[in-house]
């Protein structure tokens, strides 16, 4: 009886061990990705000239290297992605990237003077790992900000960042809900989102105060 129980425990352990170690490997890989990206950004900030074209090119490189832009683009259009035709998908993808780059470049100066500390990383289901960290202002003028990097970890492919949650607010969900609202307001027409993005890029409502 005792031997049978011991056998059962050993079999269960051997079966579960690979699952645990796979989850650990995903967490390690996701943490390493975020660490590498932060280090890359710190180098970028240290060498920043303030020139907009330089910043845009660098942001574009960072997005390509560390973010799963294809999945992000698809997700940001919500259920309406399926309704879009190939041409619309291509156009939306390019506009989405342009808007994203523009937003980061516009707010780039706010990244200066921040120091990042890694906190913890946890697997979420079998596809995501949440890597947590904190940005603190080295001048002490701004409060510390908690950040979660949602990293997509698929078997057989390199991990990539899928979403950023700041103080537990998802930037991607916010963007998706805004995009979906624009489409729904226009009777489900995907082209309305494309037109709104084009309009905003061509006529930015900058405030100079």
């Amino acid at each position: 009886m005792f031997r049978r129980q011991m056998m059962a425990i050993m079999i269960a352990s051997l079966t579960l061990f690979p699952l645990t170690s796979y989850a650990d490997a995903r967490v390690t890989a996701a943490s390493a990705l975020v660490d590498k990206m932060i280090s890359d950004l710190e180098t970028f900030l240290a060498t920043d000239t303030g020139e907009e074209s330089f910043r845009t090119a660098e942001i574009d490189r960072v997005l390509n290297t560390y973010f799963d832009m294809e999945s992000i683009t698809r997700f940001s259009a919500g259920q309406y992605w399926r309704a879009a035709n190939g041409e619309q998908k291509t156009e939306y993808g390019s506009l989405f990237r342009e808007v994203l780059c523009g937003t980061i470049v516009r707010n780039f100066d706010q990244l200066q003077g921040l120091a990042y500390t890694a906190d913890a990383a946890t697997a979420k289901g079998d596809k995501f790992v949440i890597v947590s960290g904190t940005f603190t202002d080295t001048t002490g003028q701004r409060p510390a900000v908690k950040v979660n990097w949602r990293v997509l970890t698929r078997e057989g492919t390199a991990p990539k960042v899928f979403d950023i949650e700041i103080e537990n607010l998802s930037l991607l969900i916010t963007q998706k809900q805004e995009n979906v609202a624009v489409i729904r307001k226009n009777k489900g027409e995907f082209v309305a989102l494309i037109n709104a993005m084009k309009d905003r890029l061509e006529n930015p409502l900058h405030n100079d105060s």
């Binding site: 947590s132 940005f135 950040v147 950023i164």
Partner: protein
Amino acid sequence: MMTGKLHMMMFDRLASLNACRIAGKSVTPIVLGAALALSACSSVPVEERSDVRDRYEGANRKVFAFNMGVDSYVLEPVAGAYRDTVPDGAQTAVNNHLRWASLPSTTVNSTLQGKFENAALATLHFLVNGLTLGFADLAADEEEQISKEDFGQTLASWNVPEGSYHMVPVLGPRTTRSLGGTVVDFALNPLSVFGTGDVVQTVNAAQAPVGAVSFRAQNFDAINDVKYNSLDPYARTRSVYYQSRQGLLEDRVARGTASAVSEDEFDSLFEEEIN
């Protein structure tokens, strides 16, 4: 990054305006009455809403436009001047006082929700910092973070339904439940219990508008980015409100160690891949 930070609290802090007074009378009942009257008049069919939770979207968008006008003509210029002219130390003191004034509400609501440790911490901070009317944070070295609790959160813990989404004039976004909570929280302002016609009453009357200006100044660039560069600032504000509220209800904002987003939100990504 700071954009997200602002998102979390954007317009929610305008709640502090609920203590605005005209000729010694609180304008809160007027604002709330106007909001409910507007909401009651026009329910939008589900298929015409940009978000199914937004039953009164037509009226809400009109109120949002009004609030944006108030921001453009009053809050934004005043906050800009406040940020540029008031010394950092004075701005910190104002922020400390506003946080202190919300502590009694946190104490009561934490107790009602059974969060006794948080209630005790809030009471301790309130008493210690009360020596300076909250302008100096004498307990700043304490490591424990106080989780802000309001009556809307208490109602949620009692399983009161969330109700509809409302854009309230001046106050900003609320669900029916959180709007009810706002009224109760207003009554818990510690300075409300003092007499009238003295310095304390003046501080009390100034608290709300100063709070709104202070918050706007702290998040000046980030709020402007949402206001001027979003495709649909109304929809973005609504999304941010629901997410931040959900985080507060589940105590995730203060803790900040877990993801605030439900995993179900991402199911569509993988459904798309399967199909």
